[in-house]
């Protein structure tokens, strides 16, 4: 019996010869367990060695195979050919510049991640002999969800405001920022607040909510962004009042 095949349409772009991207169809044999990533690897190995795409872990943890599949931002490794009627379209992540074929330019995204200072800025400096920075499970549960981000970029491809204004910090970077602000060991909230409240900050968001809908790790970046609108508004109106002493977890 001949194996079932499915048409996979890939948006190709080869900067040295193409003026703009074009669609190319490939016939790919598939079974119940054929992921889109497996299909792309089949194309590269058996049909067309010139196809470029990023991938690594095959288990939704490395965050490198984010693509527009069937028009929606998804990880190629956890999206399966069986779930599509007819042709499957595969395109580079929306709102990112296309470097080549399915590979996007991540530089601006990485710069935004760095910009939010995603590291612990200790609330109190301690020497090694003072012991560890301790944290209770309750304190950890406040930020745990936002620490699950794998930087796959799906939320940026889901966010029209990122597409309309490339300056916008975007959902992923703000979720990462929020993760550190919520950490009881961290004392950097005030410094990060400048970024939240700036023209490139949270008020570019119009609460579309699609970023959270497509997130493969249930991080809920939309919530991180919108909670910080209230934090920013509080800072806007009360910034001239004397600050209360920081206590407990830093909201």
């Amino acid at each position: 019996m001949k194996p079932q095949t499915k048409t996979v349409a890939v948006l190709r772009y080869r900067p040295e010869q193409d003026k703009e991207p074009f669609w190319q169809d490939y016939e790919v044999p598939f079974a119940e367990d054929t992921s889109v990533l497996a299909a792309l690897n089949y194309i590269k190995d058996e049909l067309d060695g010139t196809l470029s795409f990023r991938w690594s872990c095959r288990q939704a943890i490395c965050g490198s195979c984010g693509l527009m599949i069937g028009g929606k931002p998804r990880l190629a490794c956890k999206t399966f050919l069986r779930d599509f009627e007819g042709k499957v379209t595969v395109e580079a992540l929306a709102h990112f510049p296309i470097e080549r074929d399915l590979v996007v330019v991540m530089d601006d995204f990485i710069a935004k991640l760095e910009r939010v200072k995603p590291w612990l800025m200790p609330r109190e400096e301690r020497a090694p002999e003072d012991g560890e920075y301790r944290q209770t499970p309750q304190e950890m549960s406040l930020y745990e969800q936002f620490a699950g981000c794998i930087n796959c970029g799906l939320c940026y491809a889901a966010c029209p405001q990122v597409g309309l204004n490339p300056n916008f910090l975007g959902p992923g970077a703000i979720a990462l920022l929020h993760r550190y602000n919520l950490d009881s060991r961290d004392g950097g909230s005030e410094e990060r607040m400048k970024l939240i409240s700036a023209e490139l900050g949270v008020f570019n968001c119009t609460a579309v909510g699609y970023c959270s809908a497509v997130c493969p790790k249930i991080v809920d970046p939309a919530n991180a962004v919108n909670v910080n609108k209230m934090n920013s508004a509080r800072d806007y109106f009360f910034r001239f009042l004397p600050r209360p002493a920081p206590k407990g977890g830093c909201q």
Binding site: K72, V105, G163, L164, A207, G209, A222, V227
Partner: protein, 135 residues
């Protein structure tokens, strides 16, 4: 010289790209009807300030069939605004926790819609009592 030539795709008509975006534009569009209703209320307030004849003119407007149809549309749009406002609420308000567990989004949405029904009932009862001359 670098051979890099990154291609930036256009954003034209992005809102038709995904059903999720079409729904977003639809609920953002309710703002036009909220604006129109605010204008109608403002006209009513001005008429009320101008005296009885002007107010009766406003009442005649409310009875006019085209105005009734328009208000019917405004009613539907404000209902849609209310429902979508509470559907997105779990994304926009700080997480509500009971102990360690974060309440699921649908609980917050449902609570919001219950509050909407309760507040509307209170408002209708208030209007009814007011018309009866006592509150």
């Amino acid at each position: 010289m670098s051979a890099r030539r990154p291609y930036i795709r256009p954003m034209a008509r992005w809102y038709l790209r995904d059903p999720f975006f079409i729904e977003y534009m639809a609920h953002e569009g309710t703002a036009v009807f909220v604006w129109l209703f605010a204008l109608e209320l403002l006209a009513g307030l001005v008429c009320l300030a101008l005296g009885e004849a002007a107010w009766n003119g406003f009442l005649a407007w409310l009875d006019w069939l085209p105005a009734q149809i328009a208000n019917g549309l405004v009613l539907l749009m404000l209902l849609y605004h209310g429902i979508t406002w509470f559907l997105i609420l779990p994304r926009t308000i700080p997480p509500v926790r009971i102990g360690h567990a974060r309440l699921p989004g649908w609980v917050l949405s449902a609570a919001g819609m219950m509050a909407m029904i309760a507040a509307s009932a209170v408002l209708a009862t208030g209007a009814w009592l007011l018309a009866r001359g006592g509150l």
